[in-house]
Amino acid sequence: MLLSELKDHPVMSLESANRVGRVAGAVVDPATRSVVALRLRKTSGDGDTLHWEDVTALGQDAVTVAGQRLVTEARGRAEALSGKEHELVGKRVLTSAGDEAGEVTDVDVDPESGAVARLLTSEGDVEGGRLVGVGSYAVVVRA
């Protein structure tokens, strides 16, 4: 599932059948090459983060979660990786050989595991396993 498709998806509580927010973005950990949390907007509580382990399902039309209480402040890796410098989309791609290779346009995520399946770039697809680092200057991929 592409992050661009996931964006704005409603996040539904299975307990109350109410919408508890909408997906604003995903936090990707380059160390594990997977999504560690979804950032939400239009939440009613204090927090704006839904951690990956608390997601019940990423569906075609909605993200489901057991209850509102699982939408919290970011913690652990999700907290460490919050902030613009850790975002992928829109960033230049640099290979580990020091050559630029376009910019990230979208990220394809496995909805079951949260693993980054591939990066979509302006110069073609890059397999997710090649992701090395995400920083303020560039997304680094193995050459």
Binding site: P30, E85, K91, L94, A97, G98, D99, G133, V140
Partner: protein, 185 residues
């Protein structure tokens, strides 16, 4: 590549942070190769950095960036600069003189061949009348054992037979020249 192309190239960690940019190339005294680089900070108002990068810590020197594992790759400037004989700025402007005593011109750039080491393979010089090139810039190959120093740059007189006009054919000129020297031994 010409070593002038390296100036201002960003130094980027594998985590995707641009932590410095190259300032000056530091040549290894003994081998005629790049020993490392002095660094400048990134950004409009950043000045020089009190850190240097030795060649061993460079993971890749690409078209667009110099890759390092992390900021831990940087060393104190003394560690890189003191074991070398020359910096870029010491070499530029120096005159290249043959072992038979002819001044071939002054150095305007240094030509590198990047592999496991960054080998100094030639100089780009503003040619003197002795080369009969109307003062044009030409590339002159260097022996593989030659040290780069800031003082007299003395090359074997045969180098003048392997002068090239541009980088495209220069790699072949260097190989031919070095083969020629080996044959003469």
């Amino acid at each position: 590549m010409r070593s002038s192309e390296l100036t201002k190239r960003p130094v980027v960690t594998m985590a995707g942070e641009d932590v410095a940019q190259l300032k000056d190339v530091v040549y290894d005294g003994s081998g005629g190769s790049v020993g490392g680089f002095t660094l400048a900070g990134r950004g409009l108002f950043a000045g020089p950095m009190k850190k240097a990068l030795s060649w061993e810590q460079v993971r890749a020197l690409g078209r667009d960036a110099v890759m390092v594992d992390s900021e831990d790759a940087f060393a104190e400037p003394e560690a890189v600069v003191e074991r070398s004989d020359a910096r870029e700025r010491d070499v530029l402007g120096s005159h290249v003189i043959t072992d038979t005593g002819t001044d071939l011109g002054s150095v305007v750039d240094v030509v590198l061949q990047i592999g496991d080491v960054a080998d100094v393979v030639g100089y780009e010089i503003e040619s003197s009348p002795a080369l009969d090139r109307d003062g044009r810039r030409v590339l002159i190959p260097l022996p593989d054992t030659m040290a780069v120093s800031g003082e007299a740059l003395i090359v074997p007189a045969q180098a003048t037979e392997f002068v090239a006009d541009d980088l495209a054919g220069f790699g072949a000129s260097v190989d031919a020249f070095r083969d020629h020297l080996r044959g003469n031994r």
